[in-house]
């Protein structure tokens, strides 16, 4: 593996780690359940994406053959991450997890919970 590829791998790993760190910081810092939901579900897209692409490049050069399983893993993550977020949000609605006080249109949670159309 030459120096240029090594630098690219390092850059991607760093970038991915930074976004994963930001996701964790967000989970700790944000004030209510619904805003917290944003940080970790997002970190998994770009953060894990960066780490997996780095892994893909590293093993492709290391083992003399294209390593594409990381791309498949990325695809799985992209498909499953929104479903996790959706199930968590749904659970929060049914637990009546209170949204932050200044949340706009907070009353929408009442109709959302029963999957009714909004009353407007």
């Amino acid at each position: 593996m030459n120096a240029v590829t090594e630098w690219i791998v390092v850059a991607l790993l760093l970038l991915g780690s930074i976004f994963l760190l930001v996701g964790s910081i967000g989970l700790a810092r944000l004030p209510d359940f619904f805003t917290r939901l944003h940080a970790p579900t997002k970190a998994s897209t770009l953060g894990i994406g960066g780490v997996l692409i780095a892994s893909c490049i590293y093993f492709s050069f290391d083992q003399n053959g294209l390593s594409v399983k990381e791309l498949v893993i990325t695809l799985f993550l992209l498909i499953t991450a929104p479903i996790t977020a959706h199930m968590l949000a749904k659970a929060a609605l049914h637990q009546d997890s209170p949204p932050l006080e200044r949340t706009r249109n907070a009353d929408l949670t009442a109709t959302a919970k029963d999957r009714e159309n909004p009353t407007q």
Binding site: F19, V22, I25, G26, R29, L30, P31, D32, F34, T35, L37, H38, A39, T41, K42, T45, L46, G65, S67, V68, K69, L71, V72, L78, I79, A81, P82, I83, A85, H86, A89, K90, L93, P99, L100, R102, T103, R104, N105, A106, L108, T109, T111, A112, K113, R115, E116, N117, P118, Q120
Partner: protein, 162 residues
């Protein structure tokens, strides 16, 4: 043929993905991939609903690229919001009226909304006419709804022809 392979496209995808995950084209793996690719679609057929077929594959490819780019851009945006002062955040719920009520396009739209940071789909109404979305920083409600409809719903509707 139809009975053996109820979903030829799904069979093809399963076959390729199995080989990719194992990173091997050894005869044993090919045999295993072939068996799984035939058996899994047959087992899951009763679970599947009929979906509208993809009419415009080129548009779909462009949509995926656009979505990936949006994910990168808005990840940076959310990172800044998360690390910045939280007092400035104005979270809120919005309702997006849907123009299509087919299962697949609505699912894809909800997933796209959740994948692009700053918005998470919370719930969809029973008749699939309204999508509830939580926005991390809601400045202009009408503008956010219009952007989502224009940028994501319109191409999705177009590519499935509904």
């Amino acid at each position: 043929m139809k009975r053996l392979l109820p979903h030829p496209f799904l069979t093809l995808i399963l076959f390729v993905v199995w080989l990719l995950l194992n990173n091997s084209i050894a005869p044993g793996q090919i045999l295993l991939a072939a068996i799984l690719a035939v058996v899994i679609p047959k087992l899951t057929t009763p679970l599947q609903k009929t979906h509208p077929t993809l009419r415009k594959p080129v548009l779909a490819a462009r949509y995926v690229l656009m979505l990936l780019w949006d994910i990168v851009l808005s990840n940076v945006e959310v990172a800044i919001q998360v690390l910045g002062p939280l007092r400035k955040l104005n979270p809120g719920f919005i309702v997006i009226p849907l123009d299509t009520t087919e299962h697949l396009p609505v699912t894809l739209l909800a997933s796209s909304i959740s994948l692009t940071p700053g918005t998470v789909s919370v719930e969809v109404s029973k008749d699939r006419r309204h999508l509830y979305v939580h926005v991390l920083n809601l400045d202009d409600e009408a503008k956010t709804i219009a952007t989502i409809k224009q940028r994501y719903e319109k191409p999705l509707k177009e590519m499935f022809g509904c």
